[in-house]
């Protein structure tokens, strides 16, 4: 976390004194004389009663909740990628209920107006023809998608959901800063913030009579379902996302989970005969509503932006045919155009016959002569923005520019005046945030969220408060490292019950809706988790042997360790034959490094990365506990390993233990999972397959290639396979090759044996969905049966024998055949259920 975001509290230095806010700004909590405003009194009193130490303790608990729930946002271009914990300040922003009514009305009015503007711009263009909107704002606007012109969504609802950023001027009035109309984010984060407040400050929420958020979602989701064309009895809704790298992926998966809507990528959907379908394991299921979190132009590579294959080819055609409701309508980003703000007051009077209830920040569009002259004259006091929203083009601040740069900007405006707007600098209000120095003032912007309620718009009573990066900063951006707050609307409504937590979804959601891509991700999650476990168990046995202490925890000789590392192809080539590798301390260094080195194929770190990536992909399919275990697992080794060799060795040992224990928890949760849908089966198939392959490899090195006498290798093999105890209790004998082979290869009752995996694979394959009535058994069934047969038929006495040269070629050959049997099965399953070929663009002439 950067030093600009709310920092870790320290109980000693903290005090309750909220510093007087900067002069010249409105403070949300205190009036100019320094007394709490009336709607803050109850909150301030409750916080005072609680005391700073207790508040800090709860703050810590809140942070844990956020991490445990996997609430994150992604920062573009951040090497850390996903999984930045969502920054939330536990001190809420309180808003007076009566004032909220004003905000609510203004936001409803604005949503209604923008919807009407969209209907016109994607329809008759009357507003342009009659001079209410300059044609440049449409014709020169990259947000105007001509392919979507003429498409009329159900009930004329272009904007199903809408978000608006508002800020408060020094005189206390609210101003609109910007509109979000294509795929507005914030509602999920707002709800998650409320869940954290509800868990950490339940009594305070109750005492302050904070308006609940859940009603809003109930009403608007119901209204969304009613927008499904032809009103099916059970409309199928999907959430369409660009995937785990999207900035607000958490929210996509949160929505999907919360309402049991499948979370899909463009590749999971297909358009046939003007209708959108979800590709599932059981076949194609029609989709009625798409809640899209993908920007306008990426939604259809056929008719919209051609250089991206993210979306669904034919989606525009389906929208045109009116067979699917898309929220928001394709092309609705058009009214995010900052230049439009200059014309909204006139449009509001013309279209709705009323004045704007909340002004937009003063905006001048330079495409008109008089405003342009004004702007160029007062350039130094204004913010200059592109007239049309384009990714990567940001606001410019002439006030802080050199004279040369300011002249250059003026020249750019003069060359393309219609492409620029000027806006007044907004003086943001401030609110208290919790820092290690106590409460401090930070500037805030409030994102208010609205959605269609069936006849008009409903406003989420609260919204997402965003906090500036630093004390004086006016930059409020999650991308730039700002924070967030829960927003408490206090009083003014009857309902005062605080939030009930939504009931957690079952382990796996509606199993037949499983998309092929999701099944593939679950399959590979199973494989990587198992590969990780195999590697962790291997290193856990080999590493202590290299401790240099012959008496403590040493299971194997350095020679045996070397035999395994060589056999499993884990030694770097240069050290393979060097005598230096015979020295335990060199080997120790090598193996400890291998644990951490993410580039190494067998490294724990590298496999953890795969597990982490895949667990994000399947997040909404996992139970909260399973998700938490995977989160904890994947944060292992996230810190840089100690530089000191001894410490690194110890850290590696500790990490291996943790990984094995957490994987056991993961396996335990899966075994206990009540709903065994298809997702669970694919995860299981992945695990079984990988475990079989890993065991075959261990048997090859530990038995087939073992130097004579076998004892040392077999002992280590039993330890890696976690089967020493079983062996001893069953055979009550010294270690014999035949028994080891029986236990680890052929015994269908030992959960570590290859035969056990084969039986489980046959069961798993048996329960996979069949598409149609098939005459002959599918290939994967035949292959799984053959695999089990192969293992049953082998005679342990025959295959364990060494030939005249002391080699176990028969065993090697048998293991080879078994391994091919497993990989053939894997390929058959992939081809049938998991394959999704890549799209390509036809060359055009």
């Amino acid at each position: 976390m950067s030093d600009t975001s709310p920092a870790r509290p320290s109980r000693r230095t903290a005090d309750w004194h909220y510093r007087p806010p900067e002069a010249g700004h409105w403070d949300e909590a205190l009036d100019p004389s320094g007394r709490p405003r009336p709607h803050w009194m109850r909150l301030a009193a409750a916080m005072r009663r609680m005391g700073m130490p207790e508040f800090s303790r709860r703050w810590e608990f809140g942070q844990q909740l956020i991490r445990a729930n996997g609430v994150t946002y992604n920062v573009y271009g951040d090497p850390l990628g996903s999984a930045r914990p969502w920054p939330m300040d536990l001190v809420p922003l309180a808003i007076d209920g009566h004032e909220w009514t004003h905000i609510e009305r203004a936001v409803i009015q604005r949503a209604t107006l923008l919807n009407a503007v969209l209907a016109d711009l994607y329809g008759s263009h009357r507003l342009v023809r009659d001079g209410h909107i300059p044609p440049e704002l449409v014709f020169d606007n990259p947000g105007f998608l001509r392919a979507c012109h003429g498409i009329a969504p159900t009930s004329g609802v272009f904007l199903q959901n809408y978000a608006v950023d508002i800020a408060r001027a020094p005189n206390g009035t609210w101003w609109v800063i910007s509109d979000r109309t294509q795929a507005p984010s914030g509602a999920g984060y707002a709800l998650e913030n409320r869940l954290v407040s509800g868990r950490t400050l339940p009594a305070m929420l109750d005492q302050c009579r904070v308006r609940p958020l859940t009603d809003f979602f109930e009403v608007t989701i119901k209204a969304l379902l009613a927008l499904a064309p032809k009103r099916p009895a059970n409309p199928r809704v999907v959430v369409m996302s660009a995937g785990p790298n999207s900035e607000t992926y958490f929210e996509h998966s949160f929505f999907a989970r919360q309402w049991d809507f499948p979370l899909v990528g463009g590749g999971d959907l297909t358009v046939r005969d003007g209708r959108v379908f979800l590709k599932t394991l059981a076949g194609l299921n029609p989709v009625d509503v798409i809640l899209r979190r993908l920007d306008d132009e990426f939604c259809d590579p056929l008719e919209l932006r051609g250089d991206s294959l993210l979306g669904v080819p034919g989606l525009v055609q389906a929208a045109r045919a009116g067979t699917v409701f898309i929220a928001n309508a394709l092309g609705s980003g058009l009214v995010e155009t900052p230049a439009l703000m200059a014309f909204l007051p006139g449009l509001c009077r013309h279209v709705l016959g009323e004045d704007m209830r909340m002004p937009s920040v003063a905006t001048w569009w330079c495409g008109q002569e008089e405003p342009r002259r004004e702007v160029l004259e007062h350039l130094g006091t204004l913010v200059i923005k592109p007239a049309f929203p384009r990714f990567g083009q940001h606001a410019e601040f002439p006030a802080t520019m050199s004279a040369d740069n300011r002249r250059a900007l003026a020249a750019r405006i003069a060359a393309h005046p219609a492409r620029f707007v000027a806006q007044e600098q907004v003086d943001l209000s401030s609110a208290p945030v919790h820092t290690h120095r106590g409460l401090e003032a930070r500037h805030v912007v409030l994102r208010v969220i609205a959605a269609w309620d069936g006849t008009s718009y409903a406003v989420l009573p609260g919204g997402l408060t965003r906090v500036a990066t630093g004390q004086q900063s006016l930059v409020v951006s999650m991308q730039a490292g700002g924070g967030s707050k829960d927003t408490w609307v206090i009083g003014g409504a009857d309902d005062t019950a605080y939030e009930l937590e939504p009931s957690p979804a079952p382990g796996f959601t509606s199993s037949t809706e499983l998309s092929s891509r999701m099944a593939d991700n679950l399959f590979w999650l199973g494989r990587y988790a198992e590969r990780l476990e195999a590697n962790a168990r291997l290193f856990r046995v080999l590493l202590p042997a290299l401790s240099g202490d012959a008496h403590q925890g040493r299971h194997a000789s350095v020679d045996t360790v070397l035999h395994y590392l060589r056999g499993l192809d884990l030694l770097p080539t240069q050290s393979r034959h060097a005598t230096v590798a015979r020295q335990w301390w060199n080997l120790q260094r090598l193996v400890a490094d291998m644990v951490f080195d993410t580039r190494h194929i067998a490294s724990i770190g590298g496999n953890l990365r795969h597990v982490r990536r895949l667990s994000w992909e399947v997040k909404e399919r996992l139970s909260p506990d399973t998700w938490r275990v995977l989160q904890q697992l994947s944060t292992q080794l996230s810190a840089a390993p100690p530089t000191n060799h001894d410490r690194r060795f110890l850290a590696a040992l500790a990490a291996l233990d943790d990984v094995v224990i957490m994987l056991s928890a993961f396996a335990g949760l899966l075994a206990e999972n009540p709903t065994r849908g298809y997702g669970w089966r694919f995860l299981g198939l992945g695990r079984r397959m990988e475990r079989a392959l890993q065991m075959i490899e261990l048997l090859r090195v530990g038995v087939a290639l073992a130097p004579f006498p076998d004892d040392a290798c077999l002992e280590v093999l039993l330890q890696i396979a976690d089967s020493s105890t079983t062996y001893r209790s069953r055979y009550l004998a010294a270690i014999r090759t035949r028994y080891v082979l029986e236990l680890l290869l052929a015994d269908e009752t030992n959960p570590r044996s290859v035969a056990f995996q084969a039986t489980a694979l046959l069961d798993g394959v048996h329960s996979l969905p069949r598409r149609q009535a098939e005459a002959s058994p599918p290939a994967e069934y035949t292959l799984a049966k053959r695999l089990r047969q192969l293992l049953r038929e082998a005679n342990m006495d025959d295959i364990k024998r060494r030939d005249a040269n002391g080699q176990r070629l028969a065993l090697e050959a048998h293991l080879h055949t078994v391994r091919n049997g497993v990989t053939d099965l894997s390929e058959a399953i992939t081809a049938r259920y998991l394959s999704h070929s890549a799209s390509s663009r036809l060359k055009s002439f």
Partner: protein, 289 residues
């Protein structure tokens, strides 16, 4: 003049395509001087679904969905059209600045509609280089017709017609610098030069009569149309340095190539692809048509 036009596009893939969606603009547009007598578009393999609609610019669009696995995809469009001589351009020329100003004022519905083609479009981004290029043909006070003809003439004489020198993704500035390209590039250069002077220009997709001494026949052709207040849109072909007459068959128009791409599509699978395009526009005897 009556023509039979045949436009075939054949794709061959080195891997199987399991599904393909394509969108074609291959139906000649009905115009005062062009009558469409017959039009048929055939796709192989047999499409599971065919849909037709008009796009934003009024062009006919046909979409195909192919669901059967294939490694070859063929689209053949055949049409019969009558092309008559076009109305003569205005007898008197107007200074180009007057045209520009009338567009900027866009007081009448026609000028407002034409105003849309003054702005940049994805393939044609105006800039100082294009403006400088265009300015040479439009000195102060010159008649707009004279300027248009001069610009087309300059492009024809200063650029080398060279298939395969550019692809459709070659940026316009690069074409301008290299001085090489095909009809699409020349049209884009001309449109960009006109728009940088705030004149209204659109991109026309069509065919040339086969057998005549035209540059760019036997392939899909493109030219430019410029808006003249009072008389409407005037076509000009910079590739052949002439005003289109009965030798040009119009398919449709848009802001640039991207709006009227004759054939585009998305295939699932397929790997590497090879494409053959063949266009024939043969005059047919009216009596036997």
């Amino acid at each position: 003049m009556r023509y039979k036009a045949t436009h075939s596009t054949r794709y061959r893939y080195d891997a199987v395509v399991s599904q393909c969606q394509s969108e074609v603009r291959l139906t000649p547009r009905a115009l005062p001087w062009q009558a469409l007598l017959e039009s048929r578009i055939q796709a192989t393999p047999e499409p599971a679904a065919v849909e037709a609609h008009k796009d934003y610019f009024g062009n006919d669009v046909t979409t195909f969905t192919i669901l059967e696995s294939h490694d070859r995809f063929t689209i053949v469009s055949t049409s019969t059209v009558d092309v008559e001589p076009r109305p003569a351009p205005p007898a008197t020329d107007t200074p180009w600045e007057a045209v520009r100003d009338e567009l900027a004022a866009h007081t009448r519905p026609e000028t407002l509609e034409a105003f849309e083609y003054v702005f940049d479009s994805p393939f044609v981004i105006a800039g100082p280089e294009l403006a400088a290029y265009g300015r040479k043909s439009f000195p102060a006070g010159r008649g707009v017709l004279e300027g248009i003809d001069d610009l087309a003439h300059r492009i024809h004489s200063e650029f080398t017609y060279e298939p395969n020198a550019t692809s459709i993704d070659t940026p316009l500035l690069e074409t301008l610098k290299a001085g090489r390209g095909v009809c699409q590039d020349f049209s884009h250069v001309m449109i960009g030069a006109l728009r940088s002077l705030h004149l209204s220009a659109r991109y026309v997709s069509g065919y040339l009569r086969s057998g005549a001494d035209y540059q760019g026949a036997e392939a899909s052709h493109a030219w430019v149309s410029v808006y003249l207040p009072g008389s409407g849109w005037l076509d000009i072909d910079p590739t052949n340095d002439l005003r289109p007459g009965t030798g040009h068959v119009t398919l449709g128009w848009g802001r640039d190539y991207g709006d009227v791409t004759p054939v585009k599509g998305i295939a699932l699978g397929g790997g590497h692809q090879l494409v053959d395009v063949d266009v024939r526009v043969d005059p047919i005897d009216d009596a036997h048509a």
